[in-house]
Symmetry: C2
Subunit: 150 residues, 2 copies
């Protein structure tokens, strides 16, 4: 008896049958980042979605926050992540947990792409771009203020 | 302002502050496998748990099935996975989806450990060890019957 189980084979950080997509369909507060949806609505019994994001050297994800948490495993390269008032180095196989309402942004360092698996609840709220007032209320680290792109 | 977000640094496939644990507390239908719980109940807002499993060369996980699905990302080594009547090769960065009630077992090949991230719902049913009758009703591939360990 077969099943709906599946192995999705990887080669050079692309996956068989999985399309490279734009990171988002609108906005321009991000740079050189793409999305690969590995597991999503084709499996209605799944309560989560599993995505792979890849940021090219010098690129970054959007500065945003939302109520749903992110479970992130870095699988390629190195870079930095902003978590509210903190700036942390990240590299392959580090685990990043982004708790509800944390302002966050991923940055790839120069030299190689930063790639990470990100698991989210299937039903979740939409990301919010923080206003300047919100940023001011949450972040006072000069290092972080210098790093963020909006 | 800080947050409950966290970066858990990895080194040689161990994670800062994360203990290596027994795979299960009972049974002996598995071999040379350990569990690292990366994200779990310390974050009550998380609907999932993220675990890393590592199987030493020649080892295997228990042959089992359950109603909750598994989202699995291989991050180290190579091996095989049984999915009901199928035997599939797996290696680093392949994605494995295990759908509800699929009889499954991971095997590390000889030569290097097989390591994988496995995400599950926080609230989930317990695994069931298939009876010989159940195996007979689900599996008739000689290749799979030769591979499984129980």
């Amino acid at each position: 008896m077969s099943s709906n189980s599946a192995v999705i084979k990887e080669k050079n950080f692309t996956w068989s049958g999985v399309e490279r997509k734009d990171y988002k369909t609108d906005g321009h507060n991000f740079k050189d980042i793409h999305r690969y949806t590995l597991l999503a609505d084709e499996h209605p019994e799944l309560n989560t979605q599993t995505r792979y994001f890849e940021i090219q050297p010098g690129g970054y994800s959007s500065l945003e926050y939302h109520h749903h948490p992110h479970s992130v495993v870095i699988i390629r390269g190195r870079g930095h992540v902003v978590l509210n008032n903190e700036l942390r180095e990240i590299s392959a196989f580090d685990m990043v947990y982004i708790s509800p309402d944390t302002i966050h942004q991923f940055h790839a360092d120069d030299g190689e792409p930063l790639g990470f698996i990100c698991i989210v609840d299937r039903y979740r709220d939409r990301p919010v771009i923080p206003s300047d007032e919100k940023i001011k209320s949450m972040i006072d680290s000069e290092e972080v203020l210098h790093k963020i792109r909006k």
